[in-house]
Amino acid sequence: MPLKSIVVTAIVAFAAGLVFASFAGYELFIPGLLEGTWITIQITVGGALLAVVAAFIAALARMYGPAPIRWLASAYIEVFRGTSALVQLFWLFFVLPQLGVTLSPMTSAILALGLNIGAYGAEVVRGAINGVSRDQWEATIALNMSRVLALRRIILPQAFVAMIPPWGNLFIELLKSTALVSLITISDLTFRAQQMNQATFRTLEIFTLVLLIYLGISLLITFGMRALERVATGGIVRGRAS
């Protein structure tokens, strides 16, 4: 969203947060929520790392791998995009133990959400690599570079810059999907919200505050990605080859 909207939303969020925090008795539920926030952040970061790795492997496998590898990558992408994060989460949490593999809830969460977003990320990576102009490939052929070298030193660095905005959106999707882990007994922000609600019945304040915290983290992600984009482009104009 445009910068002005972000700033306006941030100000509103911050002000609302202050208003609510000023309600008496907030110390009843704020600590719990903050603990939950920390868990949410951990899962988001862990899931994001896994997503990026999975996306690159799947995209490169699909574009340049031999047939069986390509098929595997496609299967991964289609399955994880065709079913929702919750289904994948529940499958890892309920079904896997009955097949003999028991993962901790945190591991299941990071695995399910990371692989889920990674499947969408694979398309982003693929799109960005394809978006690098053919002229650049031809220049690498004229300089007698191997395909691997060309990909590594010339194509991927340029694709990387184009990828940043879509990845930003995916990371925000990841953040939103972390709320689901509350349904597999992980004490994330959403779980804590329900817990605090049962304890204090300050329903409106708690849930509004929780929404604001999620919004706040998503704004952090947006700003972070913008900064990353600035660093990555350095002296280059985004998206143009010479």
């Binding site: 969203m1 909207s5 306006v8 939303t9 509103v12 969020a13 289609e78 399955v79 995009r81 065709g82 079913t83 929702s84 919750l86 289904v87 994948q88 529940f90 499958w91 309920f94 079904v95 009955q98 097949l99 925000i172 953040l175 939103k176 999907s177 972390t178 709320a179 689901l180 509350s182 349904l183 959403t190 919200a193 329900q194 609600n197 329903t203 409106l204 849930f207 929780v210 929404l211 999620y214 919004l215 998503s218 704004l219």
Partner: protein
Amino acid sequence: MFWDWDYAFDVLPVLAKASIVTIQATLAGFILALVLGLVFAIMRMSRNRAVTGATTAVVEFIRSTPLLIQIFFIYFVLPEFGIVLDAFLAGTLALGIHYATYCSEVYRAGIEAIPRGQWEAATALNLSPATTFKDIIIPQAIPPVVPALGNYLVALFKETPLLSAIAVLELMQTAKILGSQNFRYIEPITLVGVFFLIFSLIASAAIRYAERRLSTIGKR
């Protein structure tokens, strides 16, 4: 044993019945999303800065926060204000509002893609804003964005399992109940996953087909 076909066939009818709830929630939610999304889109185009600002803030707020929390909000918070909704209604409402924000973005893109000349011709013919929208703009804006809307329909459908968090008896909730009753989760949950996967693949193919057909329809 990895897979019990007998058990699988036993639970299939139960899941089939539950899928009706899933489909109802999907359709109801999506219709709400389509209508409300259009309202959001039009409000964001208003001349009144306060209206645009407020709508943008609300839309961005809803888009950037988890659907699950919004479901909880509607189910648990609204009663405090006297509005008590049953789980199905609350869940469908949340789905509809959440996806209305996505649809509003799609509509906006479609409207912005209309050449300025169309607006100018409408002005030259002295058409009122309402007529312009109704007869000139919307009919041209919608067809190109139908594939994008279709994708959100599929996405909404895949998120209906979230309603299990407030005990709506849709597919996922039913699968969990079956699993806990029979101490065996493998078949119910896998079947639900396969169901979503198959439907999603068919729907995506259909949308791609529609996209191709729509883009070959002659333009002005």
